[in-house]
Amino acid sequence: MRVALIGNQNSGKTTLFNLLTGHNQKIGNWPGVTIERKEGRIRSTDFEIIDLPGVYSLSPYTIEEEITRKYLFEENVDLILNIMDSTNLERSLYLTTQLLELDIPVVVALNMSDIAFQRGIRIDYKYLEDKLDTTMIPISALKKTGMMDLIQVIKNRDYRKNKYTHIYDLHIEDCLKQLESHLDHSHKRYISIKLLEQDEAFYSYHQNGSKKIVETLCVTYQRDMEQVIADERYRYIEQLRDEAIKSSIEKMTMTDKLDRIFLNKYLAIPIFMAIMFTVYYLAAGPFGSMTVDFVDKYVSIFSSWLSTSLTSLGASAWSRSLVIDGILAGVGAILTFLPQLAILFLLISFLETTGYMSRIAFFLDKVFQKVGLSGKSLIPFIIGSGCSVPAIMSARTIHDETEKKMTIMLTPFVPCSAKLPIITLFAGYFFGDYSGFVSASLYFFAVVIIILSAFIMKQVLFKGKTSSFILELPNYKYPNFKYIFKDVGEKVLAFIKQAGSIILLASIIVWFLLSFSFSFKYGIDPADSMLAQFGNIFSWILYPFLGELSWEATVSAMQGLVAKEQVVASLAIIAGYSEEVSDGVFIFNSAAFSFFTPASAYAFMVFNLFSAPCFGAIGAMRRELGTTKRMWKAVFFQTGIAWVLATLVYQFLHIFEVIG
């Protein structure tokens, strides 16, 4: 027997699936998409159960809805286990009434029945069971109550076989009966409704005369039939709600109270800005810089010790240089930023686990709709603050092709973890006490540029309607510290791995190119090195926003393509080769980078923030955009925007430097 578990997003579906199956699970992906597919066996039975993606309806507006509909329609499902959120029955019933139109028995698990009770919501289950002619079991997946009853009902097949009908008005019901008489398939009622809604996917089911029936009804209503059916469904649901749900004056929950503040029309955006400012101030501001100095001190001590040890062991100048000036300078420069990143990961994870991150998507949705992006684009943007690769991949859940393309092209603009070392290095040195403010300003700058770019793209390239977005707002929760530390630990480990692999390899290559000339002569002036020759070819490109022809900064910026952290590693290696010209902090006290001013430093950060992402993210863009040509367009678009913005920022800020 095959059971399909289906419900709205955040209805507790996965928790219920885990409870029903225990460890007996198989995890994979749905064909062609990275949406997770979970299968398992219900405990103490040999019944197969599949966890379908969370959906709000069976209309194929999203990929999740398409997958769910296709599965129910094409696979031999014996039972639908529909999980409903008891605290939001009205919305859950929309999907349930659609499921009941299929020729598959439905058992409804009324989840969060305990929370509904606490909130003073009294549900007349018997009334609902009779009206919908389906079996309903109140459960709490979180408190694990009602599970045995549910398993017993499924195991003994002790459930109603749904003979529920008549929810639409008489015209529609008559019409449905006529259409059903023309059909020779299972799911007659469901198909008939789809024919009435003029759903293109069901055109092939039209038989002689059925088109005429639909056309006649369309003339009667003079409206979009899909809308008519939806209105009728809601009318029926409202009627059910009035009869089955008795709600005492609903108590305001903590979530309601907090949302009054965090989602307040006037306060939401200032609060969001204050929170993000605090996050960046703590991570990249004076406190974060202190941690960098602390680690840097120990890296320097280790470097001196290693250099002395290698000399005493008989290492030549070149091999010592490879280890100290190449590997340790590059990898060490990156690792000094580890505490700062850990602080950032910790704070972002803290916001995620409390439920605040979902609110950002909620209140920015309106702004994004205005510029042609749906709120669904916000999910990749939020993921992008960690890494662009999964963020770009997550854009595939956006149904609308133009919105998807725009989101993929704009996601790398979000400052990812790998860009943080560049930001904190420059902000920390050039802006001192204001480093936190400058770091946060780049985050908001990115948001503004994303909105502006989307607006321009929508006006020029991708004209059309913006799709709507339904977002489930989870309740606020006390932070789960176990989850936070696990999450931060995983990300910190990933950063160390990145430093020990890609950065290590790139540092060796940079050292080699910097230490040798094209005639493979060692011990040359860095200006005669292969790296310098290469950088000199392109240094004019960065001149408008650096104010200096610098092959050193040019090759470092280009290495951002390998990994954004490599920009800092390269700066550190090149600075090590350069003469010290001041008492300032390492890197900026070297002749190679002493030309940087606050204006060019900010412009350099802007360029690295918006220019083409690393190869990993470019590869993900290629895959999601579909063709290499589109990928190149995106890369040139991003780098072009980065160059223009960096130049504008530099030219503007430089005026103050000249006046000052």
Binding site: A315, W318, M393
Partner: protein, 46 residues
Amino acid sequence: MTFTVTDFIILAIVGFLAGRVIYHLFKHRNSSYCERCAYAKKCSIK
């Protein structure tokens, strides 16, 4: 450029580390972008 025994040992260690990184890049060249991304091993979307 002179070569000492220590230099050869250093070269061998660095070569091994670099080779290991290149081997892993080569080994996972057909893996998904998510699997190859250091920060996103579990980037399936639900």
